[in-house]
Symmetry: C2
Subunit: 370 residues, 2 copies
């Protein structure tokens, strides 16, 4: 491989192991797996899921749904509040695939119902504590109103209830995650109870990487739609969802400047490559962790090494004394991203350890492989 500029490596073996683990977990518990593809956004990575028997997927936009529908996926959930302005694209998609959307208000249903040309299934999005979107789990009257509005619309059917326990991202241990998992299960189950009389086969789907990675007892749950687990990242290590050895993507960046006074190194790789997501770590804000490079990919984070700041295309890296003394201009540093979803989106393509191109929906790879 001849890497000359910031490149997002994907370790196919680690990625497939992450996929295997979640597929097995779902199978073992009789759960339908609707993996969220917003993390990888890749047709190639999608094939790795298909090889394991996955048939239904989740995405975060209608445009992304179209990208995967074009590759033959035919059951797609768009886990984002129904955007009535995109009725045309909804019709186009629903003509081709089994389309599930999310909704959390009656207004959107009323605004779109007469414009639909093909059947669409709706999950009612339930807020089980994250406080972002969804009807609150204990708001029985609103959950029932939304359900009735769906049932009364000719082209709509009621699929079930969906929750993203996004507050699990605030966890910092397996115990934290399991507490959130337990509460989420009970809240989403109670939300479903309010509308159980409206349909016999309502599905409960929940989707967040921390609880789906760590949780064992999924009783009462029908389907899961985690996404980040396909790659994991530094944030998930800090949350307690995975080990750093599970992280399946890493940035490789050229060293372009070495500051002997500050003992810091500048890499070609900034906000437009990593995104600006960061984490607190040892009382510092960091934007990535430096790992050992080896012939088979990369190893564990090197103690005392991290990305300290990012501007548009510059990254400033702190190295351990030993690594600083050895680093040279023109070397490549390998870096675990804080948030793999946003780094993959920013990069818009991947390179396998064998040097093969892997696509991304954002397709920001115009000068590949230059």
């Amino acid at each position: 491989m001849n890497i000359t500029k910031p490149t997002l490596l994907i370790d196919e073996r680690k990625c497939k192991a992450n996929i295997d683990r979640m597929v097995s977990k779902a199978k073992g518990r009789g759960l339908k797996l609707r993996p969220h593809f917003k993390t990888h956004q890749s047709l190639k990575v999608g094939e790795w899921f298909k090889e394991k028997g996955v048939e239904a997927i989740t995405v975060s936009s209608l445009g992304m749904a179209k990208y995967f529908a074009g590759a033959g996926w035919n059951e797609i959930t768009v886990a984002f509040p129904l955007n009535i302005l995109q009725a045309e694209l909804i019709n186009e998609l629903a003509a081709d695939v089994k389309l599930n959307l999310l909704v959390d208000n009656v207004e959107a249903i009323n605004a779109i119902k007469d414009r639909l040309t093909h059947p669409v299934s709706l999950f009612i999005e339930i807020d089980t504590g994250a406080g972002r979107t969804g009807v609150r789990f204990d708001n029985a009257s609103e959950i029932q109103e939304v359900a009735k509005a769906i049932k009364s619309a000719e082209k709509l059917s009621l699929k079930g209830v969906y929750t993203h326990a996004g507050h699990s991202y605030k966890a910092r241990s397996e115990e934290d995650i399991l507490n959130i998992f337990k509460l989420t299960k009970s809240r989403i189950a109670s939300a479903k109870e309010y509308i159980a009389d409206l349909s016999a086969d309502l599905e409960i789907c929940m989707g967040d990487t921390p609880t789906c990675s760590v949780g064992e007892d999924f009783s009462g749950i029908d389907a899961i739609s985690p996404g980040n687990f396909v790659f994991y990242d530094v944030m998930q290590v800090f949350i307690g969802s995975c080990q750093s050895a599970d992280i399946a993507v890493a940035m490789v960046c050229p060293v372009v400047s070495i500051n002997k006074q500050t003992r810091e190194v500048c890499i070609y790789g900034g906000a437009v490559q990593f995104s600006k997501d960061n984490e607190e770590w040892n009382d510092k804000v960091i934007f990535g962790l430096i790992v050992q490079q080896d012939s088979k990919g990369w190893g564990e984070p090197v103690e005392g090494c991290y990305v300290k700041s990012l501007s548009q295309e510059h990254g400033i890296v702190r190295l351990s004394p030993k690594m600083f003394d050895e680093v040279k201009v023109g070397d490549l540093l390998t870096i675990l991203p804080i948030h793999s979803c946003l780094t993959a989106e920013a990069m818009g393509s991947y390179l396998t350890l064998n040097g093969e191109f892997v696509d991304h929906y954002a397709q920001k790879n115009r000068d590949w492989p230059g």
Copy 2:
């Protein structure tokens, strides 16, 4: 215009006024203007500069240089530390255009000098206080060593000294900016003095939007290369570089969910559209300011309205009581970005107020205009 999903609007009139102002300032002071195109990254916006007589440009990567070289720009400065791994691309570019690069160490020069096939000019990058890259302004021996290494290499010529006073971004008033401007001018001038005997026509170039917007006395400076001024943004308003009426780009995002309990609104528009840059404002961290929409574009920020948080494609917005009471699912909100460079990069295209497509190097517009 039929906007159905997050869209980055560009107000051509405001943008051209920003260009005019900087072109006039440079002309009036006998400064060469080398505008930094990393903010807009657009061939179309580049044409607006060309119409005003601009001939030399600055970019942040060799790939971006190639994008603009392909459109006929023939003097391009890549304001990023020389990346020796991209020698091939440097040769390809230097065959076609007058190419200026930045360097801050002897090692990079020695590593690349025998691989160059065409003449390349180098600015020595000077650190005048930002502490990111560059030889420190008072490190006479290193500045001289780098200069001599350039002079002794057959294909290299010494263009001058370059500084990005990035610490001006910490300013919070015109007075702060002018203090940094004054210090930067004196430091970059003293850096040049150390090597003045090596060449008769060394250029001093400095490039940051705050000092170039606010500064008046450019004596001693030969060229400027600001970039962000073409659009400005909320960050520049807070720094003191511009007024909010000068901001030439704004995001338009559909409202998809309204939370009556929290009185917050969810828009379709998250980190992959805005980027995650943020600012502190009235003791809150914000990710954008909501503006009045009008038939000609947009007006001033609405008091009490701001983007409170961003996840991958969701944005959570706080509205004033009046605006909250009026907002409906399916409405469009217009939002000034915190950092226009990163928002433009994340969006990968623009729409003029007349509904015309404007290109961006990132080209993340695969499903345009759907």
